[in-house]
């Protein structure tokens, strides 16, 4: 599984950091999340799916 964030859509709700802190991090000045580990380890795939499903801005894409 690979995951990306569309930074034009992300508005920094940080919901993804709650669901998958091992995958996402946060730019405090831009106020936006970003992906730190784009190749998701199998044991984190469920977390990333929940992050994607709960992103308020639909900014997360699983590819």
């Amino acid at each position: 599984m690979r995951v990306t964030i569309d930074s034009t859509k992300c508005q920094g709700h940080a919901v993804c950091l709650t669901h998958s802190p091992e995958t996402f991090d946060f730019d405090d000045v831009a106020g936006k999340a970003f992906v730190v580990v784009a190749d998701v380890a199998p044991e984190h795939e469920d977390h990333v799916r929940r992050a994607e499903a709960n992103c308020p801005e639909r900014a997360i894409e699983i590819v």
Binding site: K9, Q11, G12, H13, A14, L17, T18, F26, D28, V29, A30, G31, R50, A53, N54, C55, P56, E57, R58
Partner: protein
């Protein structure tokens, strides 16, 4: 006022966001509007505005800032002539981004999570006084002092000003629901001026005696390489104070009121069978207190309804969070929703900057209350509308002999 000609008669509903109504009654009425009229309806009150209730319509409306802006008519229901814009709430585009980037670091999620232990200590201190009594008004004795004191310590303003600020914020934001439009205009204008004067005083005193706090850091911050002008500095503080003092306490109070009538939900918090983050997200969905106000700056269509440039729109997160097309059993509070893309913090560039702070305070407030207070029942409750829907009072009672804190020290 005369209703614009493009507003169809059959979409008009009797609703006043600043009127004398109760939250539950509005939710009930909105279910009828949705099924009979659709997800966009019109209110004649306060100069007239569209009420938008569809989750997907909010997702478009709050993101598409080239169609729906915050600057042209401001974000306050009551339009106060000649006032300075609220910063950054009433800026759009690149000007908004500059101020948002300045403020973002102060409210960054990591930084807010560092406050957790401080919130917990404040909650425990309040509860140490409350739990042995067997009865309290959740609003005035717990939810308000907790949210307010956290915000005041963040900006480092005097804690003894808490009740003064709470009063000014409530009047500035909500007026007195049920008053005439003229009275509300006067009440809100006076409160806004008084609050701005208070904020200006804090800014001036920090210029003279800089401290290691948010207010001083804002004074020292730059935009485009220049210090922030005084009017913009002062314009940043009222919306921040309003967000800090009025919103989280509302969700906390509404949640405890609901749990008082649903003891099984209390138990799920006490036995920690549901992650607190899930409880918080569902509470935010179900008890969202605010919905953003925008104005159309070009003609458009929303859910099949014609909107004209100049129209105001109330994107009501409170109602969109009960949209049956988005949420299964929307009128049931369910703590185990797998997917909960609620709109309590709004969306788009103006997404609530204090979201992470609100989440921390709400989580700790609910956890600690249920740690300290045994099974409790509702005695009485009353709510009010306004820009921030809130509980006026939530009185609950319990058997103090069963209070865990007392048991452990016995």
């Amino acid at each position: 006022m005369t209703r614009p000609a493009h507003v169809p008669e059959h979409l008009v509903v009797d609703y006043d966001n600043l009127g004398d109504q109760r939250i539950d009654a509005v939710q009930e009425a909105a279910r009828g509007w949705r099924s009979e009229k659709g997800s966009v309806v019109w209110s004649d009150h306060n100069g007239g505005y569209w009420i938008v209730m569809g989750a997907d319509d909010l997702r478009r409306g709050l993101v598409e800032t080239e169609t729906f802006d915050s600057a042209s008519r401001g974000i306050k229901m009551v339009e106060i002539a000649g006032r300075d814009p609220l910063i950054p709430n009433e800026l759009d585009g690149t000007e908004h981004t500059k101020y948002r980037r300045l403020l973002n670091p102060f409210f960054a999620p990591r930084r807010m999570r560092l406050l957790e232990e401080q919130v917990r200590k404040a909650a425990q201190d309040l509860l140490a006084g409350i739990a042995p009594t067997g009865r309290c008004d959740v609003v005035s004795e717990y939810a308000r002092p907790l949210a307010s004191s956290m915000f005041l310590s963040l900006v480092d303003w005097p804690l003894e000003d808490r009740e003064l600020l709470e009063r000014l914020v409530t009047l500035q934001v909500n007026g007195i629901p049920g008053s005439t439009p003229e009275e509300n205009l006067r009440i809100q204008t006076e409160a806004l001026h008084e609050l701005a004067a208070y904020c200006e005083h804090q800014v001036t005193s920090r210029r003279e005696n800089p401290r290691d706090d948010l207010t001083t850091q804002l004074i020292n911050a730059t935009v485009d390489g220049e210090p922030v002008p005084q009017d913009r500095l002062v314009g940043m503080l009222p919306p921040m104070v309003a967000g800090g003092l009025d919103t989280t306490q509302s969700v906390t109070s509404q949640t405890i009121r609901h749990f008082a009538e649903h003891p099984a939900l209390q138990d799920r918090l006490r036995d920690e069978s549901t992650p607190i983050t899930d409880v918080v997200e569902e509470a935010l969905r179900y008890f969202a207190p605010v919905g953003p106000l925008r104005a159309a700056i070009q003609d458009t269509e929303l859910a099949g309804t014609q909107i004209k440039a100049g129209d105001r729109l109330h994107f009501m997160s409170q109602l969109a969070n009960r949209d049956p097309q988005e949420f299964g059993d929307p009128d049931e509070l369910q703590l185990d929703r797998e997917t909960n893309r609620h709109l309590a913090f709004g969306l788009g560039p103006h997404r609530c900057i204090g979201a992470a702070l609100g989440r921390v305070v709400l989580a700790v407030a609910l956890e600690e209350f249920h740690n300290a207070v045994p099974s409790y029942q509702l005695v009485s409750a009353d709510s009010q509308l306004g820009a921030v829907w809130s509980m006026k009072t939530v009185v609950v009672e319990w058997d103090p002999a069963r209070s865990p804190a007392l048991v452990s020290t016995a």
